[in-house]
């Protein structure tokens, strides 16, 4: 009997932890990138991402689908996927086909303490690992966390170097594609409810 009470108690605790997990509200996330160069400006918008924040540990994890980046010029979109991000590049792992370039992931922690019980804005730094084009780098990103009622808003703007992620730009296009790409991320999170 004692065991059952203990078990139930632990399950309750587990559930409580569950409620400390926040995920993105549908349609509230946008990731845009912007490349400014002497010859042309290139921008694309990604409206879907998986965003998870665990308030008890300050863990933030984000996954985006590369093919969801939409460009005004669809030919650019095709070249982005085919020539630069190599989205559909197949890698065999133990004989199973995987496509590591299909996703980009960030896994990190917010360094500052945030009071999730009261509304307000906190400037934060987030340190973690950013994986893109099957290359992982340690990054620290400046951002803002805003608590509004039940929701948490995450915002940040940061730059990544194309070279750091082994994305090759032929010398012919050096003037078309910036060395550093600016990435803008916005998302509104709500407490996670298991479906």
């Amino acid at each position: 009997m004692k065991h059952i009470i203990l078990a139930l108690g632990l399950m309750f605790l587990a559930n409580k932890n569950f409620s400390q997990i926040y995920t993105a509200k549908s349609g509230s996330t946008s990731i845009a990138f912007f490349s400014k160069s002497p010859l042309e400006d290139i921008e694309a918008l990604n409206k879907g991402a998986t965003v998870v924040l665990k308030s008890s540990t300050n863990d933030v994890q984000i996954r985006i689908t590369i093919q969801n980046f939409k460009f005004k010029n669809s030919l650019m979109e095709e070249h982005f996927n085919e020539n630069y991000m190599e989205t559909e590049k197949k890698v065999e792992v133990n004989g199973v086909a995987t496509y590591p370039n299909r996703y980009s992931e960030f896994k990190g922690k917010i360094n500052e303490k945030i009071d999730y019980t009261t509304d307000g804005e906190t400037k934060v730094t987030v340190t973690g690992k950013l994986t893109m084009h099957n290359v992982t780098n340690d990054v620290t990103i400046n951002g803002t966390v805003i608590k509004m009622g039940n929701d948490i808003k995450l915002m940040c703007v940061f730059k990544v170097k194309v070279k750091d992620y082994n994305i090759q730009v032929p010398s012919m296009y050096v003037k078309n594609i910036a060395e550093e790409i600016e990435i803008t991320f916005n998302s509104v999170l709500e407490p996670y409810q298991k479906k």
Binding site: I4, A7, L8, M11, A14, I21, R63, E78, N81, Y192
Partner: protein
């Protein structure tokens, strides 16, 4: 009973412990998808060399093409082929065909095109409709498209009818010719794409001619099968080639009409695609190069040609 209880206990401990550890939070919400996706970029542009590729122009985009075929590099039929080459600067002095064309992506899968060719003065309208798209796991092993082209020759009537003695009235409809084909394409891997093009050619009016070797007469309509492909040599450059085989008896072993073969190099530079190729076909559209290729590789009657494609997002 006791056993079950302790199992529950262990499970719940594991469950809660798992949540405290540095875990993969993302997998709580969704899973990565390594499943099949639609294959894209089987070819770089809507044409391979002479033949159509499976590609359509992107939705609301306009593809402007300038295509050109120079004259024969050399010609074994000439008295002195080397002099012939030199005097015509390897064919650069002549133009077998020049074509300007616009292709517009009505939707992602339907392209409407219009073009004008110098050879036989043909204005052509065409449509390409991509019906099936290959998937990366080969459950759908091919992409399939339908291509249909109608040509209208604005030649003077006397050159449409040649020097024949006419015992019938001139008819505007004799200016038309039609070409329909299925494009079956497969992107085998990142490097290699292949295509099969079963097609039917129909010309409303033909000048009667007979293959002296087998006494077969030319026919208005006949079946032809094209094969094409590319091998990528870098991310942006590939070797391309295509060939058409005409099934009509008239084209078998004919000493004045041959099957078109092209071999070329294609490079994509962002918005442009440049195709540089060698071919025996003088014409640029199916309605010309399938029935009227009067030159052959074996006699060195090969032409240099190019195509410049520029895509605009409208």
């Amino acid at each position: 009973m006791q056993k079950i209880k302790s199992k529950i206990f262990v499970l719940s401990v594991l469950f809660s412990a798992n949540l405290f550890a540095q875990e993969d939070l993302l997998s709580l919400v969704d899973q990565k998808d390594d499943g099949p996706r639609k294959v894209y970029a089987t070819f770089k542009t809507t044409k391979i060399g002479n033949a159509q590729s499976i590609e359509t122009v992107k939705n609301k985009h306009l593809d402007f093409k300038i295509s050109h075929r120079f004259g024969n590099i050399t010609d074994a039929n000439q008295k002195n082929p080397i002099n012939y080459s030199g005097q015509n600067f390897f064919g650069f002095d002549n133009a077998s065909d020049i074509r300007f064309s616009f292709d517009y992506g009505l939707t992602e899968n339907i392209t409407l095109g219009i073009g004008r060719s110098r050879m036989k003065h043909i204005i052509d309208g065409n449509i390409k409709w991509k019906i099936l798209q290959q998937t990366s796991d080969f459950r759908m092993p091919i992409s399939l498209a339908l291509f249909s082209s109608t040509g209208y020759s604005h030649d003077p009537m006397k050159s449409i009818y040649g020097n024949i003695v006419k015992d019938f009235k001139s008819n505007e409809l004799h200016r038309f010719n039609f070409f329909n084909q299925l494009i079956i394409a497969c992107k085998i891997n990142d490097m290699i794409s292949m295509e099969l093009l079963p097609s039917y050619m129909y010309r409303n009016y033909i000048i009667e001619s007979i293959n002296s070797k087998n006494n077969a007469a030319d026919q208005n309509g006949f079946f032809t099968l094209g094969i094409g492909g590319r091998i990528k040599i870098s991310k942006r450059a590939s070797i391309v080639g295509d060939y058409y085989y005409n099934f009509a008896k008239y084209y078998q072993n004919n000493s004045s009409v041959f099957m078109p073969l092209s071999l070329g190099y294609e490079v994509e530079t962002g918005g442009h695609v440049f195709t540089l190729l060698f071919t025996n076909a003088p014409g640029l559209i199916e309605n010309n190069f399938i029935p009227y290729t009067s030159d052959t590789w074996t006699k060195g009657q090969v032409k240099f040609g190019f195509c410049i494609s520029r895509t605009f997002a409208l």
